[in-house]
């Protein structure tokens, strides 16, 4: 057996680091920017929070469609996953849309995209926070 085929046990510190990184990622998903704030990356934390907030407020203001769990088809399910990416801001968007969505005009359709992009962007930021905590991103 050569050295290449030997399996070595991961050091205990690695699993602790992994758990910590995962926590930062989840925190970043729940509240945009929190994953970076916990790592004292203040600029990134503020940028993530503000951009997701701006996209959600504009999307809800334009009466975009906020998908729910009982969407019905694959596109609605994907839309729901994208919207859920915004974490707590999903609930913010829901509370802002007091009159419900209106996609009969271009504004509402654009609003749907704003809401989905806010979610996907937040997922990207949470993934970045996770990778940064693992030391794989600067």
């Amino acid at each position: 057996m050569t050295d290449d085929t030997q399996v070595t046990a991961a050091p205990r510190g690695d699993s602790k680091l992994e758990t910590r990184a995962l926590l930062f990622g989840v925190a970043g998903w729940i509240l945009p920017g929190l994953g970076h704030a916990l790592q004292k990356m203040w600029g990134r934390a503020l940028a993530c929070f503000l951009t997701v907030a701006v996209l959600v407020v504009i999307g809800a203001g334009m009466r975009g469609n906020l998908f729910t769990a009982d969407g019905g088809d694959a596109f609605a399910s994907l839309g729901y996953l994208a919207d859920l990416g915004a974490g707590s801001f999903y609930l913010v968007a829901k509370s802002l849309e007091t009159r419900g969505p209106d996609v009969s005009h271009a504004d509402g359709d654009y609003g749907t995209r704003f809401l989905a992009v806010a979610g996907v962007l937040n997922l990207l930021a949470a993934l970045h926070a996770y990778e940064a905590a693992r030391g794989r991103k600067a």
Partner: protein, 60 residues
């Protein structure tokens, strides 16, 4: 709350928000971030307006 934005205003706000987020996430020194944000914003607008004009003949 209802917002009435023109297509151009919506595109500008979208491009600005995404450029800022990408700039902060992908670059570290402040000057590099600013350069990335400006360049990314410029490309968003150029490509967005370019696609708009490319589709113009189809709308008539």
């Amino acid at each position: 709350m209802t917002l009435q934005l023109s297509h151009l205003q919506a595109m500008l706000l979208f491009a600005l928000a995404i450029s800022v987020a990408f700039g902060f996430l992908s670059r570290r020194p402040a000057m590099e971030r600013v350069k990335y944000i400006v360049w990314s914003l410029f490309l968003f607008l150029l490509i967005g307006i370019g696609i708009g004009w490319a589709m113009y003949p189809l709308s008539r």
